[in-house]
Amino acid sequence: MKSYSIYKVPNGKLLKIFLEYNEKNNNIESLKITGDFFAYPEESIETIEYKLKNAQLKREFLLEKINSIIKENQIKFIGLNAEGLTEGIMMCLK
């Protein structure tokens, strides 16, 4: 199923998520993270999108997974954070 969310990160920027997920098991099939935030290095956003493929759409699990990808790849966000990204993705589940 294709879904979409727009989420203003508190004290941050506007996040727009494009998500495709499997309705039967709530697993992510594809994810596009867009918006006017900053991330260093920029290419790391593609790493996050890739590593979240097949991840389950469960808040706690996603947050933990995103935090570990950020740590592992030394990603620095400005105007976005792991909580905001999780919220934006979860908002697609409706």
């Binding site: 918006g35 006017d36 900053f38 920029e42």
Partner: protein
């Protein structure tokens, strides 16, 4: 003797050339082939630039761009969509290790924006830095800025709004809900200002460049020496323009 940095003034280039030139300087300076560089530039034709992470189709009305002869380009920096029309655009490229550049990204935004604020002061405009990436005068945005760090080199570019046509800008950007178009336009008019609006008159590109030059010299206690792109930078600009910034693959990648 004061440290000397290079000053480039390049008027009326396309969006693709402008973005390719910034990237070429970044490569060249990361290879220590050129000193820290400040560039002042304009865009011909007018163009929309979008942030690295933005979706082109979600942000830009491509049909309107075509009708009005406005180019569009994806930047290598994050941030939002900008309509580059009546403005002075600057870029600074400098090694990340330079003693004048704070390691902390927000602090480095503030430091570089300090040069713009001092430049605006030269033309009697008071302004201040507001995190993350804006400069405000009398509570309204007069400059937006975006920074990337690659190959141990900082590139920050930004705009100093000389005049703004909000209606035209909104005809080029996608408005999520047509019903609120008028409200968005009036909101932006409340939030954005320009040099012309504050001073009550237009100032020339040259005068604005002279002011900004002094701003950078004062902020960094350096001397800006007018120069040109190196041969290698010219070649790289051409390469990046052809391989990235003018391509559908790059601009439509998100």
């Amino acid at each position: 003797m004061k440290e000397q940095w290079r000053l480039l003034i390049t008027e009326d280039n396309s969006a693709y050339t402008n973005m390719a030139m910034d990237r070429a300087e970044l490569v060249s300076i990361s290879r220590k082939k050129a000193p820290p560089t400040v560039r002042f530039f304009t865009w011909k034709p007018s163009a929309i630039s979008i942030g690295y992470f933005q979706s082109l189709k979600e942000e830009v009305n491509l049909d309107a761009c075509k009708d009005l002869g406005v180019d569009y380009v994806r930047r290598i920096t994050g941030g939002g969509a900008v309509f580059h029309d009546k403005e002075l655009t600057y870029s600074i490229v400098i090694p990340e290790s330079h003693r004048q550049i704070p390691k902390n990204i927000i602090k480095s935004y503030e430091r570089i924006c300090g040069a713009i604020i001092k430049g605006l002061k030269q033309i009697k405009i008071e302004s201040k830095y507001v995190p993350i990436n804006d400069i405000l005068s009398k509570g309204k945005k007069i400059s937006g800025n975006a920074q990337t760090r690659k190959e141990k080199t900082v590139l920050q570019h930004g705009t100093i709004i000389m005049d703004v046509d909000v209606e035209k800008m909104f005809s080029l950007l996608i408005v999520p809900n047509e019903k609120i178009r008028d409200k968005l336009i009036s909101d932006v008019k409340q939030r954005v200002t320009s040099v012309k609006h504050i001073l009550g008159e237009e100032i020339s590109f040259k005068k604005a460049c002279d002011a900004m030059k002094i701003g950078f010299e004062e902020e960094f206690n350096i001397e800006l020496i007018k120069g040109d792109l190196t041969g290698e930078e010219i070649e790289l600009t051409d390469k990046f323009e052809k391989e990235f910034f003018s391509t559908t693959e790059w601009n439509h990648r998100r």
